[in-house]
Amino acid sequence: MSAASKDTALRTGVIARALIYSILLVFAVFYLLPLFVMLVNSLKTLDEIRQGNMLAFPEVFTFEPWIQAWGEAQIGVEPTGLKPYFINSLVMVVPAVIISTLLGAINGYVLTKWQFRGHRVVFGLMLFSCFIPFQIVLIPMARILGILDLAGTTSGLVLVHVVYGLGFTTLFFRNYYDAFPTELIRAATIDGAGFFRIFRRILLPSSGPIIVVTVIWQFTNVWNDFLFGASFADFDSQPMTVALNNLVSSSTGVKEYNVHFAGAILAALPTLIVYVVSGRYFVRGLMAGAVKG
């Protein structure tokens, strides 16, 4: 208790503390309930689900729905399961995240340390791009992808996500580098380092927290994107989210809820893992720009 009192602004009584924790616990349980329902039902047989009790533990554990969802379920016209689409998503997300993060970092570097006439306007416009709804860019983007001959390809989707993510990644890096001492850049300039050398040797090694924030942000956004995937992808480049939709909203055959639950969890798993592994950096990184020092 003595250790905790150092960090907390006020020391509260035991009763107040118990009350706070029990309320928090109730909320936590409430928010975890859907995940619980999905997990429990994905391990039941379809017959058991039909009996009605959604919250009950499975009487007979079965991994069959998971195997179905991953490799055998009917998606569109092919019984491929979600596996090929999972790979599609990965092939799309990884380059999209890396490229947009790197470009955002360079943008932030230029906008703070190599300021040019009108840099504020450029940043303002990039910031503005964060607030443009997805739907507005659909048709122009389709045109551009057509002109570039990237329509229906994974590369096309990577481009879309890089362009759309650039506003956010630039914002993150610009605010982070804004607090980075300019004297360091000057010292390195006198030491003889050039534009990219300063970036690689001085800035990047100090950018850990903001890189984590940007990667999480971009990864979850790109992975969870449905609209661009549904609009711009062909059958062979459709991401996980679109495939999941095709699996769940298929209008033929029996609704296999257990398979749907398993598929939904599979689709959410990568973002979940990313959050669990590096979530604390996310919170810390988001706060980093807020308060100096």
Binding site: P181, E183, A187, T189, I190, G192, R197, I202
Partner: protein, 370 residues
């Protein structure tokens, strides 16, 4: 041709002129201190010498070579920054060697250079640490090591001691002076601390609002300030500047300080000719606190001591000396007494004025008359 020459240097940010035609020159091995209040343009001047900021017009040359359009890394300079600017992700050793690495010096030579500098600054035991693990004084040494290791033609220091606590600042000041004497390097040093300027410099340049007020040796700047600003800026406590009149009393001049009840008249010994034309006109009399003393404390070698009684208003003992504030000509005037004996507020005590060390300024132009 001087080692570092700055001719008619102008620097503008949009319509704001920060440096308005600065001319400075120092010889090789000189220690030039740029001093002035904040916002006077001294850091900007240093940055233009470094090449970190472009100049609007004028010329800067180092060792006979005009460097106006030369990239900072090609000017053969090293700079120590106020925040030290140590690269946080590198060890102390890597920090020191970074400039050499960028210039393609081999690893073996770099190691040798690091060891040499580390030995000189006594930071060998810190080489493996990160800047974040160092104290302020240690960081300061590393920053100097990084500058020294490249053996440049010119060292630039941008308020390097202002982030240290008072005691460490005095120690590092001595250390910098020792290094300069040992290595004989040419240094340009920016500070707002006039004591640093006095102790370190071979040449002091006083700046105000982008205009050079005076350049000279510390002694010149201190004992012959070019104008009222320099007189006021250099020295602590500051010089007393009193409004007075020059009276011509039959061949000898005297300075008369108007007082409420009795006006105080002090003789001016060996008045310079420039002062003659001011007889009957008002001037500003400048006299440093150490030249207003108690009778015993007066400089025994001084030839012209004038005595006058003044009433004590404030007594400020500092240990070695006691500063006494009184009123002259409607202004507070500080004198420096040997001891606080017999000094009580309101008492009328005799003061000794060292008239050999007084200054006169024109009240309109603020320039030095004599």
């Amino acid at each position: 041709m001087a080692f570092l020459e700055i001719n008619r240097l102008h620097k503008q940010y949009g319509s704001v002129e920060v440096l308005k035609g600065v001319d400075i020159a120092i010889e090789e091995g000189g220690f030039l201190v740029l001093v002035g209040p904040s916002g006077c343009g001294k850091s900007t001047l240093l940055n233009t010498i470094a090449g970190l900021e472009s100049i609007s017009s004028g010329e800067i040359s180092i060792d006979g070579k005009v460097v106006n359009d030369l990239h900072p890394s090609k000017r053969d300079i090293a700079m120590v920054f106020q925040s030290y600017a140590l690269y946080p992700s590198m060890s102390v050793g890597e920090n020191i060697a970074f400039g050499l690495e960028m210039r393609g010096v081999s690893k073996a030579d770099r190691e040798k250079a690091i060891q040499g500098v580390a030995g000189m600054l006594q930071i060998e035991h810190l080489l493996k640490r990160r800047p974040g693990q160092l104290s302020g004084g240690q960081r300061q040494r590393v920053a100097m090591g990084r500058a020294l290791v490249r053996d440049p033609k010119l060292f630039l220091f941008d308020e390097p001691l202002s982030n240290l606590d008072a005691k460490l600042r005095v120690d590092m000041r001595t250390e910098i002076k020792r290094l300069h004497q040992k290595l004989g390097t040419t240094i340009v040093y920016v500070t707002h601390d006039q004591i640093e300027a006095m102790t370190l410099a071979t040449q002091i340049a006083v700046l105000k609002d982008g205009i050079l007020q005076q350049v000279g040796s510390p002694d010149e700047v201190y004992s012959k300030p070019a104008n009222m600003f320099v007189a006021d800026f250099m020295g602590s406590p500051t010089m007393n500047l009193i409004e007075a009149r020059i009276e011509n009393g039959g061949g000898s001049l005297s300075v008369e300080i108007p007082q409420r009840d009795r006006s105080l008249s002090l003789p001016v010994p060996q008045p310079p000719t420039s002062l003659q034309s001011y007889s009957g006109r008002s001037v500003v009399l400048g006299i440093r606190p150490e030249d207003i003393t108690d009778l015993d404390g007066a400089d025994p070698k001084a030839e012209h001591i004038a005595h006058a009684n003044c009433s004590v208003e404030v007594v400020e003992p500092t240990g070695a000396d006691t500063f006494v504030v009184t009123q002259l000509g409607g202004k507070e005037v500080t004198g420096r007494m040997r001891s606080a004996n017999g000094l009580s507020v309101g008492a009328d005590v005799p003061f000794a004025f060292n008239m050999g060390k007084i200054h006169f300024f024109d009240p309109a132009t603020e320039l030095r008359i004599a």
